[in-house]
């Protein structure tokens, strides 16, 4: 199973490093990253595998959210089912 992590906020040094480190710490394997910076505004979408994650998925969602709050970013983590349900028959 996969989850989608979206990160948005003002660009600073080390955002990807921090988010990636949190993923590694929780055993979420990154399989895709798409990232851009527009007018100092950072936006990233990351797809991670969550079959092996070390904590319950909802706890992982909370941890990532907290990481965002600590760094002035907005981080949303959503289960892939929501995108599949909406866009695939």
């Amino acid at each position: 199973m996969k989850a989608v992590i979206t990160v948005t906020g003002k660009d600073v040094v080390g955002i990807i490093a921090k988010v990636s480190a949190a993923c590694a710490e929780n055993h979420a394997n990154i399989i895709d990253i798409s990232q851009s910076v527009l007018d100092e505004y950072f936006a990233m979408i990351m797809v991670v595998e969550i079959d092996q994650i070390a904590v319950e998925f909802t706890k992982f969602v909370e941890k990532m959210e907290a990481l965002g709050a600590e760094n002035g970013l907005v981080i949303h983590t959503m289960h892939e089912d929501v995108f599949n349900a909406m866009h695939h028959i």
Binding site: K2, D32, I45, T58, H76, M78, D81, F83, N84, H87
Partner: protein, 452 residues
């Protein structure tokens, strides 16, 4: 395979266009709580509701977190109390309403529906006692919602019940006069009432339902409004297609949440109600969808046609997205809960008569409309009779939720707070229908009810 554009579209719908799951409503049968003893009955219904729905709020919050989609309300609907509590006295029903309110507090839900009766063909003694208890029950509880079905296409209209509802609405308005007559915002008069509707104030758990069931109401007027805006100048076929596609996506979200809630709560999945339910929040208005189609303001001539197109396209798009569609399913047009409607009424563009016409093609009826506090009960009965006739003749659900706001005159503002919003008091036709209403008895069912 996850596609970046799809991901961005979904996130934008949630973050920028107010897409949400409006409610997860657990229906609970109270038929096995029957007792002649009032206190015993209250104890049994409190115990059953708090036992069966114990995890409802927690599970709702878990799903919210997992999918990143807001689930605004978690609610409970129960068997109409007049049926489950058929042996109760008037005071017994007031006690039972308080037991429901306590159960809602314990569970942490914001509304509990089912303090109601089905009287489309006549009254049982229990129905009479419950109806007599409604004003006091709504005054002395905060979360209990009441609905009374006074007609159906099969049975015709119980005009005695319509007459009584006029008095009940007036008394409820008086008893809750210190709070802009808010009691009336929790009281709906129906025809052809659906037994699986998850939306308040009309939700109840029908007698043909299983012991417990999960029904989910989706929403998303903002998503539809944005899609129409993006499409720009297109013809009606294209417009209908855009609404259908959007409704499909919204409903798929509802189906996913309903399925997951049903699994986690070990409760059968009932239906997804694919309604466009507005809120007073900016960008969450059904009126703005109609205006986005090209009307200068909601209420202009053409509004009924626009609403008919919207209502039909929402159903067509949603029906394939869910395994079971039910409830009210369509576009709601509550005045106080929709910023565009509030503005249209304030500007004089939207009259009660136009709203009545719109209810012939929307999913419910005259909803959350503030009327002058000195409106005679007979006039309220006339409003109910007209609206109910539209439903009976068209084999559809219609309903009336009007608030005769105590001490308020046309043009004054009434505020209910939260999702219930605020509304300008509307002007009514003051000619009296008293002699018509006083006839009593039943208006016979229309000829097309004889389908067998």
């Amino acid at each position: 395979m996850l596609n970046m554009n799809d991901i961005l579209e979904t996130i934008h719908m949630i973050e920028g266009e107010n897409l949400d799951i409006r409610t997860i409503t657990m229906g609970i049968s109270l038929l096995d709580c029957v007792s002649e003893d009032e206190d015993r009955f209250c104890e049994k219904i409190y115990d059953k509701i708090t036992r069966k729905a114990e995890k409802l709020v927690a599970v709702g919050e878990e799903i919210e977190k997992m999918y990143g989609i807001p689930i605004v309300n978690k609610r409970v609907s129960v068997t109409p109390l007049a049926i489950a509590g058929g042996a109760l006295s008037r005071d017994g029903f007031v006690k039972a309403a308080k037991a429901l309110d306590r159960a809602a507090d314990t569970l942490g839900i914001n509304f509990i529906g089912g303090f109601g009766a089905l009287v489309h063909k006549g009254f049982t003694p229990g129905d009479r006692n419950l109806l007599a208890a409604i004003p006091q029950a709504l005054c002395e509880t905060g979360k209990v919602c009441s609905s009374v079905n006074v007609a159906s296409t099969k049975a015709g209209i119980n005009m005695d019940a319509v007459k009584q509802m006029g008095d009940i609405i007036k008394e409820t308005a008086y008893l809750t006069r210190d709070n802009d007559s808010i009691g009336c915002a929790k009281l709906v008069v129906f025809t052809n009432v659906p037994e699986d509707n998850p939306f308040m104030a009309g939700a109840f758990h029908g007698v043909g339902e299983p012991d417990t069931v999960i029904n989910v109401g989706v929403s998303g007027p903002g998503v539809v409004a944005s899609a129409i805006k993006r499409a720009g100048d297109c013809d009606f076929s294209t417009l209908a297609d855009i609404i259908k596609k959007t409704a499909f996506k919204i409903t798929r979200m509802g189906q996913l949440v309903a399925y997951e809630a049903s699994r986690r709560l070990d409760t059968p999945f009932g239906i997804v109600d694919l309604s466009l339910a507005p809120t007073p929040a900016i960008g969450d208005s059904v009126a703005h969808i109609l205006e986005g189609m090209g009307l200068e303001q909601c209420g202009a001539h053409g509004t009924t046609a626009a609403l008919a197109l919207l209502n039909d396209a929402v159903k067509k798009g949603g029906v394939m997205a869910s395994s079971h569609v039910g409830g009210l399913s369509g576009a709601f047009i509550p005045v106080s809960e929709d910023q565009g409607m509030i503005d249209a009424v304030s500007a004089g563009s939207l009259s009660l008569d136009k709203l009545e016409a719109m209810t012939a093609v929307c999913s419910v009826g005259l909803d959350m409309i503030a009327i002058p506090g000195d409106t005679p009960a007979d006039v309220i009965c006339g409003i109910i009779a007209d609206e109910i006739s539209i439903g009976v003749a068209n084999t559809k659900t219609t309903a009336v939720r009007v608030i005769p706001a105590w001490g308020k005159k046309p043009g004054d503002m009434v505020s209910f707070g939260g999702l219930l919003g605020y509304a300008p008091v509307m002007r009514l036709n003051e000619k009296s229908p008293a002699a018509f209403i006083a006839r009593g008895g039943r208006i016979p069912a229309p000829i097309h009810s004889l389908k067998n």
